[in-house]
Symmetry: D2
Subunit: 168 residues, 4 copies
Amino acid sequence: MARKTQILVIGHNDNGCTPEHEKTAYDTGAAIARSGAVLISGGLGGVMRASCRGAREAGGLTVGIIPQDAHSEANEFCDVVLPSGMGLTRDFLNALAADGIIIIGGGSGTLSEVCAAYMYRRPMVAVRGTGGVADRYGGTFVDYRENIMIGQADSPDEAVRSILEAIT
Amino acid sequence: MARKTQILVIGHNDNGCTPEHEKTAYDTGAAIARSGAVLISGGLGGVMRASCRGAREAGGLTVGIIPQDAHSEANEFCDVVLPSGMGLTRDFLNALAADGIIIIGGGSGTLSEVCAAYMYRRPMVAVRGTGGVADRYGGTFVDYRENIMIGQADSPDEAVRSILEAIT
Amino acid sequence: MARKTQILVIGHNDNGCTPEHEKTAYDTGAAIARSGAVLISGGLGGVMRASCRGAREAGGLTVGIIPQDAHSEANEFCDVVLPSGMGLTRDFLNALAADGIIIIGGGSGTLSEVCAAYMYRRPMVAVRGTGGVADRYGGTFVDYRENIMIGQADSPDEAVRSILEAIT
Amino acid sequence: MARKTQILVIGHNDNGCTPEHEKTAYDTGAAIARSGAVLISGGLGGVMRASCRGAREAGGLTVGIIPQDAHSEANEFCDVVLPSGMGLTRDFLNALAADGIIIIGGGSGTLSEVCAAYMYRRPMVAVRGTGGVADRYGGTFVDYRENIMIGQADSPDEAVRSILEAIT
């Protein structure tokens, strides 16, 4: 039996996360679960929490990789918690854990994950209209090396279909 | 719904792993799965692979945290793979991921995980008679601080019962 | 006696580094050394190597924090080499090591260092006209949080003066 | 000009460090400085602080790699401070930074550094009679692989001579 595909969802933490971001994140988590993939996230608030909730409520498996060293710091919708004890450096662990990544808005933490993913050549898809990193880097390359283009999708369902295609 | 307990199994990699170690690791993985806990491991060979196989074949969930940056380096019995890209420094991630730890034999890598677990106060139980770190440190403290005593057990089933008690 | 100020220089690796970038990096390293500060860098090629060379030849102290686990992978102008063994995740170590940062051009690796520096609030100054990350993010904030603005300078000397002011 | 040799000194933190340990650490730091090598340490208290002080007062260069993310957490005798932001996982960075290592007493943190050094084959010498890890592992191998034997020395001067020989 092969391992399931692992999809990382990244975006705004509590700070900056609107109800629209949360809804998009929730629906993305749910679509990941329905596809049979595992949801990976940074395990904290905002887009991370909403995507975990969506995946959990759709019957999926959720993994949270957090900066702190105690499991209890993760949001309550993580089935497996990895307390990295490494602070924000854990952004690289998130990116490395992913077979593919979906971006919903996002600020500096999201951007560091995008950079890590780009350098390690993990496919990425941004949800259009969610602002921040998603709209700034969706449809582009992170740099002149043109390693891997960040795709774009108009909805959570399309983002999941698109990232699953990019992975295979 | 609460998150499941996460039990890390550590011990010999391919190098130094006897058929007896493998059987003990397999049985420990299976007992972890039967208890409803998640198996965490270093995701490579020897005790890591055998414990994943035991847990997988008993219907459990297995997570492997590996030194490399590619998922494909993990053994085939990991359901979730975390490629840390950090080399052997990932030993600290293994320890931090654990609610509790079971030790089967083991050399220098196992000992670094034991040190990390001791410093971050994760409970540990060693399986008696498996040699290496398990027999050297089972029933003792790692240092004069006497943070947390490493328990001992005579069988995989007893080790799992004992670590579950220590966690709660 | 107080510790010396530590200035990180970031930018293009061999790939993408022009003679102009190298000259700017060399002059920046030399200006750092003349100011009495320590040069921190990622210890490899391109802007990293040229800035180390400039600082070394101006009598300064140079530190290289590299992805690999062997000292010998660093460029020959590093006085102190820290082999992180963590792969590209060492970008966060570079940013954390800095009291302040000077940006010369740069792609995805540089951008991940900028994100780390922004999250940990290390002051940054970009050298104008060097392209890449320096021109894209110079004079702006990395995100809506407006943690810390990335300054701009027209020359290596101005960049060093400006970052020293920002640090104190 | 070749880079200077980097010697890591490890042992008790404040907790457990006696005046004798401090004197041995101070003298070891001073002997490292006189040899022309750079002192690397974990940058905090006890053996770390005393060895930095010894090296500083003998005119040497001192580097501290600390768990925290702020430079100000290091002891006042570090010339270069690397705030890793990685918590105790930085023990691996200490070991990797070393061309060779001197062990003075020590508990679980010291032992994790010894394990990392052993796996990455950095030579080690323990100062006899300082207790803890130094006396437990001096003159032995960490495990059955017999990667690299931990040497023993009767004084700081002998430890420095011996580690310099082991490095070349």
